[in-house]
């Protein structure tokens, strides 16, 4: 993959990059540097893909960077049936936690952001203060106290512990507010009011549609973060049937070092399968997380 791209040599054309001369030596150096970075970025993933296709024996014997006997179907079968199909359940849990949490978070954040951007009322400044102030609270601080709270209110070791608290994020509200200020014209709201639409109807039928980009960004950023969550599930969930996929893989990785049955191959293909939805989602929604990056940098 990388070799094919780096082999091309630059030609001077119409969309000439700004700020660099056409000197052949400099262009060669640029290509060399980029090629090295591409190799560094892609090679480890290449290894993962190759290793996931191997039999357990080939994993130790064959050339690490090239295919041996392709054994994907059997590896997948093992992955999905091992220990009464633990892996597919973890995968389903991850989809549930990331999906439900992100839908909830997106709705809550868009509503709050819209309200903060488009209305003036007593307490609005205080709410904004809370939102901005809580950026400074590091996540690691809240984990142990949250555990104490969840134990008291019966949320500990339930699926709700993974869904309900994740619906409230100050950063997402901030993103939604910044976006609503720019994307929802006050004149439009005013016009809808004159036509007799109520405030909630304006939000559901007009504002929400104008804020789809912000919504998709918030959804995506949170979906990815929740998919990758480790500290939270480790603290809030005991029962392995409720674990998300990353925690499950960690338990296999940990066991792989001290068990008779070698789980290395399972962790490798499990890691690959768990990454695929993320890579597909990120590629499909590139536009949105890029805009999230630039919105974030407005801070």
């Amino acid at each position: 993959m990388s070799a094919q791209v780096t082999a091309r040599s630059p030609r001077i054309g119409p969309d000439e990059p700004p700020g660099i001369s056409g000197s052949r030596r400099n262009r060669g150096l640029v290509m060399l540097g980029l090629g090295a970075f591409v190799l560094y970025s892609v090679a480890p993933v290449w290894w993962l893909v190759v290793a996931a296709t191997k039999t357990r024996e080939d994993l130790y014997r064959s050339d690490a960077l090239w295919f041996a006997d392709v054994n994907v179907v059997e590896n997948l079968r093992q992955l999905f049936t091992y220990e009464h199909a633990a892996y597919p359940r973890w995968l389903a849990n991850s989809v549930l936690y990331s999906g439900a949490g992100s839908v909830g978070l997106t709705l809550v954040s868009l509503a709050a952001g819209y309200g903060l951007a488009k209305y003036s009322y007593r307490g609005r400044g205080l709410t904004m203060g809370l939102v901005i102030g809580s950026f400074l609270i590091p996540g690691a601080l809240l984990t142990i106290p949250s555990y104490l709270l969840y134990v008291r209110i019966g949320l500990f070791d339930t699926v709700w512990a993974m869904i309900v608290p994740s619906c409230f994020s100050a950063f997402s509200v901030y993103l939604a507010k910044v976006y609503a200020e720019a994307a929802v014209p006050s004149e439009l709201i005013e016009a809808a009011r004159i036509d007799g639409a109520g405030e909630y109807r304006i939000f559901w039928q007009i504002a929400l549609r104008l804020m789809t980009t912000a919504g998709a960004t918030i959804f995506l950023l949170h979906f990815v973060a929740q998919w990758n969550a480790f500290f939270g599930p480790l603290v809030f969930l005991r029962d392995s049937g409720k674990w998300p996929v990353m925690l499950g893989l960690y338990s296999w990785l940990q066991r792989g070092t001290d068990s008779q049955y070698d789980l290395t191959g399972m962790v490798i293909i499990g890691a690959l399968v768990a990454s695929l939805p993320m890579v597909l989602l990120m590629v499909a929604m590139q536009r949105y997380w890029r805009s999230g990056v630039s919105l974030g940098s407005l801070k």
Binding site: M1, A51, A111, R122, G125
Partner: protein
């Protein structure tokens, strides 16, 4: 904690109903006052779900956590099954946490690590962004996707990939190093930080590159022509025009990286699963807090430790933020 309360107070100087500030302009043409009040109430209700959730899942744990540190739980029996007594001990737990040598040495470890890995990541990201900026736009897009592949891989998976690449049994890196005459154990205590730094760099550099590359697109092209007329070469233009232009983006990504690195937990925990001899259970502050809460079982003290950690992170973020405001 203190940093939080001061920040809460700052952006809300006008909360009285008469002084609605510039936001008041929107309801200029309300015919009846009661109608406008109704509308503002409805407007306020939009943020109600968030506020409720925020109170329950952020403010309540915060208060709960702080109150927890005022108590000490002691088991009177030996080991399991002994009666537990809870005693009010005031600020003892916090004072103990502030003097805890294990905690500070863990913090020193991650700070030293941050001091090396963050500039290194930024420099690498900057190099990538400058190189991308030096090829034609059409190709830059293709390269950019490839350079972003590590960022799309979930961090946990990235750690697992590198753990196996480093592994003396299945990994290809050790044989490769051996052909060059080096015998490296990537999990030894000397190599550990390099190994971990490399995987974090691999996983995060793409995101930083994206921000910097985005900022580079905003440099007006006429500056380059002017510089070229004055006799500046490619390197000189990159260093003296492009780098200063993206400085504020650099500060932002640095701030985010510091907060992340000080709370380092997942990566060292995974390393520990592979090599528990070198990575102790109190290796980083977050690992120490986790260990104290769930392995030692002293929740009161674990909360006190997380408060100290939060104060340190908050203070550092505030300093970098202030610094960035002055720089830009």
């Amino acid at each position: 904690m203190s940093t939080e309360t001061t920040l809460v107070a700052r952006p809300s100087p006008t909360t009285s109903p008469t002084a609605t500030g510039p936001g008041g302009r929107r309801d200029a043409t309300g015919p009846r006052i009661s109608w406008r009040v109704m509308r503002d109430l409805k407007g306020a209700s939009f943020s109600l779900p968030f506020l409720l959730g925020f109170c329950v899942f952020t403010l309540v744990p915060l208060v709960l956590g702080i109150s927890e540190t005022f108590y000490t739980t002691k088991s009177s029996g030996l080991g399991l099954g002994g009666d537990k007594t809870v005693q009010f001990t005031g600020l003892d737990q916090l004072a103990k946490a502030f003097r805890d040598a294990t905690f500070w040495s863990g913090l020193g470890r991650v700070l030293l690590f941050a001091a090396v890995i963050i500039p290194l990541t930024q420099a690498t990201a900057l190099a990538m962004a400058l190189l991308l900026d030096a090829v034609r736009r059409r190709w830059a897009g293709r390269y950019r996707v490839l350079l972003l592949v590590p960022y799309m891989i979930p961090g946990m998976v990235a750690t697992m990939i590198w753990l196996y690449l480093y592994s003396p049994i299945v990994g290809p890196l050790r044989p490769i190093a051996a052909t060059f005459g080096f015998d490296v154990d990537f999990f030894s205590s000397e190599m550990l930080w390099t190994s971990m730094g490399n995987l974090i760099l691999w996983n995060t550099v793409g995101f930083n590159m994206l921000i910097l590359y985005g900022a580079l697109q905003g440099v007006p092209g006429e500056i380059f022509d002017a510089a070229r007329v004055d006799g500046a070469g490619d390197l000189r233009i990159a260093w003296s025009i492009k780098v200063p232009y993206v400085r504020s983006s650099l500060v932002l990504t640095t701030l985010l990286s510091i907060i992340g690195t000080v709370q380092l937990f997942a990566e060292p925990t995974l390393f520990r699963a592979v090599r528990p001899e070198t990575i102790t259970r109190d290796f980083t502050p977050a690992m120490y807090v986790y260990d104290m809460a769930f392995k030692v079982g002293d929740i009161n003290y674990a909360t006190a430790l997380s408060i100290v950690l939060a104060v340190v992170v908050g203070a550092m973020s505030a300093v970098v933020y202030r610094f960035s405001k002055e720089a830009s």
